[in-house]
Amino acid sequence: MQNLLDTVKGPWFIAVYTWREGLRRKTLVGFLVLSLLVIFGATFMTSFINQATVGDVTTDMDLKLIKDICVTTISIFGILITIFISASVVPTEIENRVIYTVLSKPVRRFQYLFGKFLGVQLIIIMNLCLMGGLFFIALYIKQQILPTLLLWSVFLTYFEFLIVSALTFAIACASSSSVLPTIAGLFIYITGSLTEYLKDVYNRSGQSGEWFDTLIGYIAYILWNILPNLQRFSLKTQIINSQPNDPPTDVLIPQLVIYGLIYAVCGYILAYWIFRKREV
């Protein structure tokens, strides 16, 4: 037990340090402030305008638009922050050589990586809490109903980000700058959001009987199986179309959580496997 505690203590301190350092990054803070401004603007400002012009309660149409804007803002700015921070924590530390002093302390490489990864997650969670929290308050003020559906959505969005974060982090462990892993992270996010189409490709393939047609079908099928399907984590249509306090329907939350964790663990193992023998 004491051993276990000692093993996680080091990573924890590294995580807190990473978190504090992350908050110093202008890009990250910039994204965060922008997203909060957009959410704030979309929710509160529109109500002023409405009152000024129509003098009526917000119509259904307006509310849908506001929800759409906010959900999209959270996912776009959220994923940008996620990718940016996951891609840069390790390369930055190699570049500025802080890693020399840290790895020369009694900290094993897996502990170091674990600390860094944990720190990244702290930043992502903090962001989601701030953005989701503001949206939550705004919706509550507007509709006077606790928007619990939004909480579920933010919760699932975290697991979506976790997948992208873990895979980006792994690639960053092999790079000496954060440019390549950032691009890779965007690629993973975009293809991960389009995996449903791969299934379509598979379903439609093989009809002509040509060998390459079948081959493309197979490739699409394999990719569809390997790549994370990020669309599953989205409750956007539900949030826009349902009541704020409706329970999420048609989604299997525990399965999605496990699905996210499996990808995260694979990403972390990959990161460690790359970093284990890396010369710094």
Binding site: F13, Y17, E21, V98, T101, S104, P106, E279
Partner: protein, 318 residues
């Protein structure tokens, strides 16, 4: 002096080849290094830039991995173990520390990585800050530190766990003379307290002032290693004569004497052995010079360094 102790740091045929570029080009940075550092000594690890000092140090700390050969620290080959890491303090070359933290916060962070907490950690932070003379600036952000202050915090960071061994990569490079002297004093003080120090440097004079033993590395090969007394013995003597007139230097040199200096009516000659000594005295007597004194002369580290490297260059061109 300490050859009867077991070395604290020992490498056996340590070799490092870097793979660089896409064409599989290789840089042989370290070749069959057999290095021994003994307890309670300052070992000056010397060599011009690019000779492989930093490579050696990074290998010792497990930041990079040997191509072949082995390392033993405090009697164990498991140099990644917590036991070894707890006993090594490391100051990297020209290192960067997080700007956004205060001096004491940095030390707290590094101390935590050693498993230190609470009062014990607080006490250690006070001690090392005092030792490196940074107590006055402990609550200031690193952003406002001078280069010398950063280096002191770096040293404090290396000392936080009270390690037996200190490995310092060019600790005084880029500092002003006063800061250098102060750092040097801290290092001698640590040695006197029984610590073992491995200091890489290309500042010969400084190393000569504080080291017990030195090693000279050139192009990845350790050319010489030993105590300063062993390495810098020299039978050279300087003979001082008075009464020198114009043209006498020319005359002496024609007859095979080596004049190293001339001030007013004084000339200084260098001889390598007794036979030369008597010959020169005879010669000068005949020229009407007056013998003032004979002094033994120890080679400087700088001369040794230059000789070693010249020799290495000659060997290579053969």
């Amino acid at each position: 002096m300490s050859n009867n102790h077991n070395p604290v740091i020992k490498t056996l045929n340590l070799t490092k080849v870097y793979d660089t570029g896409f064409r599989g080009e290789q840089v042989s940075a370290l070749k069959n290094l057999n290095l021994e550092v003994y307890p309670s000594e300052i070992f000056g690890y010397l060599g011009p830039n690019g000779s492989g000092k930093t490579t050696t140090i990074k290998l010792l700390l497990g930041l990079i991995f040997p191509t072949s050969g082995s390392i033993e620290i405090m009697g164990t080959k498991d140099i990644y173990s917590a036991y070894v890491k707890k006993n090594i303090g490391y100051l990297p070359e020209g290192s960067y520390y997080p700007d956004f933290l205060k001096g004491e916060e940095i030390l707290r962070f590094y101390g935590q990585l050693y498993g230190l907490t609470g009062k014990e950690l607080g006490k250690r932070i006070d001690e090392v800050l005092e030792l490196v003379g940074m107590t006055h600036a402990r609550r200031r952000l690193l952003k406002g530190y001078s280069k010398g202050m950063r280096q002191r915090i770096g040293l404090a960071q290396a000392l936080i766990s009270d390690p037996q061994i200190l490995i310092l990569d060019e600790p005084t490079t880029g500092l002003d003379p006063i800061a250098r002297k102060e750092i040097r004093d801290i290092l001698s003080h640590l040695r006197d307290k029984g610590k073992t120090l491995l200091i890489s440097s290309h500042e010969l004079l400084e190393v000569e002032m504080i080291s017990n033993r030195v090693g000279i590395l050139y192009e990845g090969i350790l050319r010489v290693a030993g105590t300063l007394d062993e390495l810098l013995t020299s039978k050279d003597r300087i003979i001082e004569f008075a009464n020198a007139k114009n043209g006498v230097v020319q005359e002496i040199e024609n007859k095979g004497g080596e004049v190293v200096d001339q001030v007013k009516d004084r000339v200084y000659l260098k001889v390598k052995n007794d036979e030369e000594l008597y010959k020169v005295i005879e010669l000068c007597k005949n020229l009407g010079l007056q013998l003032i004194k004979i002094t033994p002369r120890r080679e400087t580290l700088e001369e040794l360094f230059v000789n070693v490297i010249d020799l290495a260059k000659k060997e290579r061109s053969l």
